[in-house]
C-alpha cells in the first residue's frame, strides 16, 4: 500500500490540473461508501431504539414483574412475558435437541460417507430447504404434519401415559389436535437443519485429509474417526453453527405462528398449545392498541436481547476459527 499511495502522490504533483474534478468525485465516492457502511450500524441502533421506546411504558409500569408474570389480559390491562418467554425457549430447545443430531448426521454423511456422484445433488437439496419461505413450513406443519402427528403419536401416547406420574403430565395432550409447543419445535428443527448442516459440512471439509487418513491407517472405524478426530477438530465452530441455528429458532415467526396454537397458558405438557414471543407479536400486533401495543414492543425487546446475545456468541465462535 505505501508504494501505491506514493505513486499516486507523484502523479498528482505532475498533472494537478487534470486531477481536480476526478479527485472531487473520488472523495464523494469514498464518503458514499462510508455512509452506506454506517447505515448498517444505524439500522441496528434504530431497531433497538424503536422497540425500547415502544416498550418503555410497560417496563415502567410493571418493572421486573413483567418478566415473571404469566398474565396476558387485555381487559384488565395486565401483561406479563413469562408464558411467551418459556414458549420461545422451550420450542427452541426442542428444535435443537432434534435438529442438531440430524444436521450433524447430514454433515457427516456428506463429507465422509456419501459417494462422490451423489454429493452435489444431496447438498443442493439440503440447501434448498433453507430457501423455502417460513410461511410454507407453517402451512406444511399445520396441514400435513399436525394431523399425522396427532393421529399416530399424540393420541396413542396420551392413552398410554394417562394417569402416570410425571410423564402423564409431560406428555398428555388435553386436546390432541397436533398443534403445540412440541410441533413448533419439530418444525423449527426442520428449518434450522440446513443452516447447521451446511456450516458443519464446511468445517468438516476444512479438516486436513491427512488427519483422517492417518486415523484410518491405524485401523479406526468411521465412527472412531468422527468421534476422536473430526469432532474435536471442528468442535468450536460446530458449537458456533448450533448457536446460529438457535438464534434463528428463537426469532422465527410465521412457521411457529401456524403450529404453536397461540394460547396464553402455562402448561406442563409439551403437547399443549402455547405461544412464543414472535408468534404473539405476529398474532396480536395489528389489533393491538395502547398498553397492549407497548407490551408487545416490550416482548420484542426481550426477544432482541435473547437473540442478539446468542447471535453474537455464535459469530464470535465461528469467527475465531476462521481466523486461526
Amino acid at each position: 500500500m505505501p508504494a501505491l499511495s506514493q505513486s499516486i502522490a507523484i502523479a498528482e504533483t505532475r498533472s494537478t490540473p487534470r486531477r481536480g474534478p476526478s479527485r472531487g468525485l473520488d472523495a464523494v465516492f469514498r464518503t458514499c461508501s462510508y455512509a452506506a457502511a454506517l447505515l448498517v450500524l444505524l439500522v441496528l441502533a434504530g431497531i433497538l431504539g424503536s422497540i425500547l421506546y415502544g416498550g418503555w411504558p410497560v417496563f415502567r409500569e410493571f418493572g421486573f414483574g413483567f418478566l415473571t408474570s404469566s398474565a396476558w389480559n387485555i381487559g384488565t390491562e395486565q401483561y406479563g412475558a413469562l408464558v411467551a418467554v418459556i414458549g420461545t425457549l422451550a420450542s427452541a430447545v426442542i428444535a435443537l435437541l432434534i435438529g442438531v443430531p440430524v444436521s450433524l448426521g447430514i454433515a457427516i454423511f456428506l463429507t465422509q460417507l456419501c459417494p462422490g456422484w451423489a454429493r452435489k445433488p444431496v447438498a443442493m437439496t439440503i440447501e434448498l430447504l433453507a430457501a423455502v419461505p417460513s410461511i410454507i413450513y407453517g402451512m406444511w406443519g399445520l396441514f400435513i404434519f399436525a394431523p399425522i402427528f396427532a393421529r399416530f403419536v399424540q393420541i396413542p401416547l396420551s392413552n398410554l401415559v394417562e394417569g402416570l406420574p410425571v410423564v402423564g403430565t409431560l406428555l398428555y395432550a388435553r386436546v390432541p389436535s397436533g398443534v403445540g409447543i412440541f410441533t413448533a419445535g419439530i418444525i423449527l428443527a426442520i428449518m434450522i437443519v440446513p443452516f447447521i448442516a451446511s456450516i458443519a459440512r464446511d468445517m468438516l471439509d476444512q479438516i486436513p485429509t491427512v488427519l483422517r487418513e492417518s486415523a484410518y491407517g491405524i485401523g479406526c472405524t468411521t465412527w472412531e474417526v468422527v468421534r476422536h478426530v473430526l469432532v474435536p477438530q471442528a468442535a468450536v465452530s460446530i458449537i458456533g453453527a448450533i448457536m446460529l441455528g438457535l438464534g434463528r429458532a428463537l426469532g422465527e415467526t410465521m412457521a411457529v405462528t401456524f403450529v404453536v396454537g397461540n394460547a396464553n397458558r402455562l402448561s406442563a405438557s409439551i403437547f399443549d398449545p402455547s405461544s412464543t414471543i414472535a408468534s404473539r407479536i405476529a398474532n396480536e400486533f395489528n389489533e393491538a392498541d395502547g398498553l397492549q401495543l407497548n407490551a408487545l414492543m416490550a416482548l420484542g425487546c426481550i426477544l432482541f436481547v435473547i437473540t442478539f446475545i446468542v447471535l453474537i456468541v455464535a459469530r464470535l465462535l465461528t469467527r475465531r476459527v476462521r481466523a486461526a
Binding site: L4, S7, S15, R19, S22, R23, D26, F29, R30, S33, A36, A37, L39, V40, L41, L44, G46, I47, S50, G54, P101, V102, G105, I106, I108, L110, L113, P115, T125, I126, L128, L129, A131, V132, P133, I135, I136, F143, I144, V193, E213, Y216, G217, T221, T222, W223, E224, V226, L244, G247, G251, T253, M254, A282, F285, N286, T307, F308, R315, R319
Partner: protein, 297 residues
Amino acid sequence: MDATNPLVTTPSPLRASRVRPGRRVADRALRISCLVATVVGAVVLGSILLMLIVEGIRGLSPTLFTQPTPGPGSEGGGIANAILGSLVLTTIGIVVATPVGVMAGTYLAEYGRGSKLADIIRFLNDVLLSAPSILIGLFVYTLMVRPMGTYSGWAGGVALAIIAVPVIVRTTEDMLRLVPGTLREAGAALGAPPSKVITSVTWRAASSGIVTGIILALARIAGETAPLLFTALNNNSWFSPNLMGGVANLPVMIYQFALSPYPNWQGLAWAGALLITTTILALSIIARLVIKPQNAR
C-alpha cells in the same frame, strides 16, 4: 457404503473376529443414522414440494392472474393484486438495498481494511444477517407507519430492504476480496484514482459474485411475511399506485387466506404458495449457477 471408502473395506472373516463387536456396532450405527438423517431431510423437502404441487394445482383457476382477491364469502377471485403488490414491494426493497449494500460492502473490502470501525460493522452486519425479521417489522412500524398514520407499500419496501442489505453487504465484500490485489495495482499504476479503480476494475472483476448476492437477497425477501404484517399489511382491492394504505402482497395474503374458513380463499392461498415457492427455488438455483464460473477461477 463400504465401497465408497477404500480404507475401510469389509474385513475378511478371519480379521472380522479381531474387530470387537462393540466397535463394529458403533460404526454401523453411525453410518445408518447419518444416512437416515439425510433421507429424512430429502423426504421433508419432497413432501413440502408434493403438498404445494397437489394443493396448488387444485387452487389454480383461470381468474387467478386476472382478478383481485375476493372479499369474505364471495366466490371466485384471483390473486392478481397480491402478485403485483409483491412485485412492487420486492422491487422497492431491492432497488433501495442494492446501492446501499454494494457501497457498504465496497467500504468494508476496499477502504476499511484493517480499520477497527470496519471490523465492528462487518461483525454487526453478520449479526443483522440472522436477526429476527419480525423485529425489523417493529422497527419500520415505529419509523414509518406510526408517523405516517397508515400502513403503506413504502414501509413494506423499506422493511424488505433492511432485510436484503446485510445479504448484499456480505456477498459483495466476500467477492471483492477474491479480486487479486495486482489488478488494483495495475489500475492505480495507470493513474486511476481509487474510485475509478473500484468502479471499472474491481467491481467488474467481481460482477457475477455481486449479482449472485443480489439474487440471493431477492430470494430471501420474496417470501418474507413477518415484517410485512406490520408495514404493508394487505387489502382486497385492486392495486393503487400511490402505495398508501395497505398493499396486497403474496406472503400476507397466504397467511390470512390459509387460516380462513372459506374454501376458495384457501385454494388461492395454496396457489400463491406454489407460485412463491417455485419462484424462490428458481432464484436460488439461478444464483448458484451464476456463481459457478466465479468459483472455478
